[in-house]
Symmetry: C2
Subunit: 374 residues, 2 copies
Amino acid sequence: MTDMTDPRQTALAQTLPATVPFVAPERMEELRGAPFDARLGANELSFGPSPKALEAMAQSLSGVWTYGEPENRDLRLAIAARHGITPESVTVGEGIDGLLGNLVRLYVGPGETVVTSAGSYPTFNYHVAGFGGALHTVPYKNDHEDPEALISKAREVGAKLVYLSNPNNPMGSVHSAQTVQDMIEAVPEGCLMILDEAYSEFAPESTRPAIDVTDRRVIRFRTFSKAYGMAGARIGYGIAHPVVATAFDKIRNHFGVNRIAQAGALAAFEDRDYLSETLGKVALGRAKIIQIAQDNGLTSLPSATNFVAVDCGQDGTFARAILTALAARGVFVRMPGIAPLDRCIRISVGRPEELEVLAARLPLALADARAAVA
Amino acid sequence: MTDMTDPRQTALAQTLPATVPFVAPERMEELRGAPFDARLGANELSFGPSPKALEAMAQSLSGVWTYGEPENRDLRLAIAARHGITPESVTVGEGIDGLLGNLVRLYVGPGETVVTSAGSYPTFNYHVAGFGGALHTVPYKNDHEDPEALISKAREVGAKLVYLSNPNNPMGSVHSAQTVQDMIEAVPEGCLMILDEAYSEFAPESTRPAIDVTDRRVIRFRTFSKAYGMAGARIGYGIAHPVVATAFDKIRNHFGVNRIAQAGALAAFEDRDYLSETLGKVALGRAKIIQIAQDNGLTSLPSATNFVAVDCGQDGTFARAILTALAARGVFVRMPGIAPLDRCIRISVGRPEELEVLAARLPLALADARAAVA
């Protein structure tokens, strides 16, 4: 057996496990020996992106031999124009995952503290650990992240960063703009608030505080992976005070954004009609999931996203058994990792035919699960 | 005037400048108010990728709503099979730039030392600075990187990493496989050698040491940006002992590689006929650049890459004046940053019509430059 440690690595790197935040559905398909019939686990947009985005990406292929434009100017200008801000307040990166990693790197030294909610986005926690930060968590409150507890903990531990997703993944819950704004106002001196708005396009306008890039206390992240249907393109952006947004230029991989993604994102961003259409379809899909859950005697949590957390009415063991049974029956779904959230499974809005598959197989999976945990 | 410092950032981040390793040709075009007629500055492959890669990317667009497969399995298996190694020795990332950043993060703590050649790849130096490493350089020797001096310096300063590109960018020079293997054998205890083979497909087989993934002393980087013509896709790979290659899984952005890039890279890698064709075209282009230089009384350095370093016969000021004049006349070219390398300009093999533009405008640019520095 080879010794898999490497004493040449940094002390921090030596302590880190080789890990993947999420097991990929492709790997699960390989293990079960067949493709899934319904891919409802990664909160992707099964309807795909705007035809205009697809056309822009197809057009851009002939130029794939050139590096992407490293300042992401066209996209930053479009985003800035929409929000009435300057492009110095917009930073573009390889999805929110990539932006979160760079933000942690900029703000969190070894041993410095970060606050988030127990059961919230695991990839953020992965980056905090990866830069040696000390993560403190507070519990959810009524299946919502708890702004007061987050701020209170941030104050208590002297946090460099405090994380809130609005709407929340994995529960689908959302706070009002006022509640979020109150949290921003309460961010302690020396701390930066991350407002992860990956799902915000799906939520009502009244949940989005006004963008104010004169405020150094908050950075907001948005993405083309969810409502714009381009998860595989890897492109997202941050909006913040220029002192925060331009800091990414100190460390980012400047030529790191794929040029096909740049072209697609710009076209997707400009096609507001398609976004409206998408939101309508997602609302129908949510209603369908809620109906399917109800038909099976399960309760759904209210959702402001493109997924629904379905309360399976027992503990994490039971929910996990349902997940396993669904996977065995060709339906890919994920679930929260931590109690009490893990009484739920999280079902993404898929295409209508995928939700039909869910409707047909959920009763069988529930029976499997009840037998398994009996 | 806004205060652009942020005391919440790490001490290291506060010291870093917001920078771009290279000014993009798009920005230069914006400044000059017109597009370039010949894009010969970024060592891209103007012929573009294999039609099979383009077809694979076009096909993959319909699936862009899904995240890419986070383990890059298909591509890693193909690379591993080609070299008779296991996929645990292959790591895929967002171009060599992205891989270099993660490697530095894994191996270099603040104040730890790294050795490279003065005038070699600036983006590597950027990453070393970005993680607080202390960079030590040795000079080139006869326009080649100097393996003996690199090893000697690495030993002297107790380097964690020592960098060699083979073939070398920006000079186009190359060492034999034996010379590189001798360098690997001499890597001091506690040090890891980076063998950057971004351009190695353009060079003779006799310049590539046998791949030996039982050797923990070296990691080799290759890319789809150069010989495969996919710079804008952002995908490259590392080959190393599993202990080194799998270490990237501790910190990388697991879903960070664009799925269109994954599809294109696999198809490009398998199309060996197209690669052969490309190498033939690049050889013709190199010969054409050498001829153009000679027609203008300039000497070319031997090149094992898809670019030619042309010795302008004077100092950096003169070479820079030629660069400026070429840009003003619609020809994008770059040059080494440090004396004595900066007596040269670096001209990428472009399409034949681009090299015709170069042939027509280089005499004029030379006259401009002679007038400017007179």
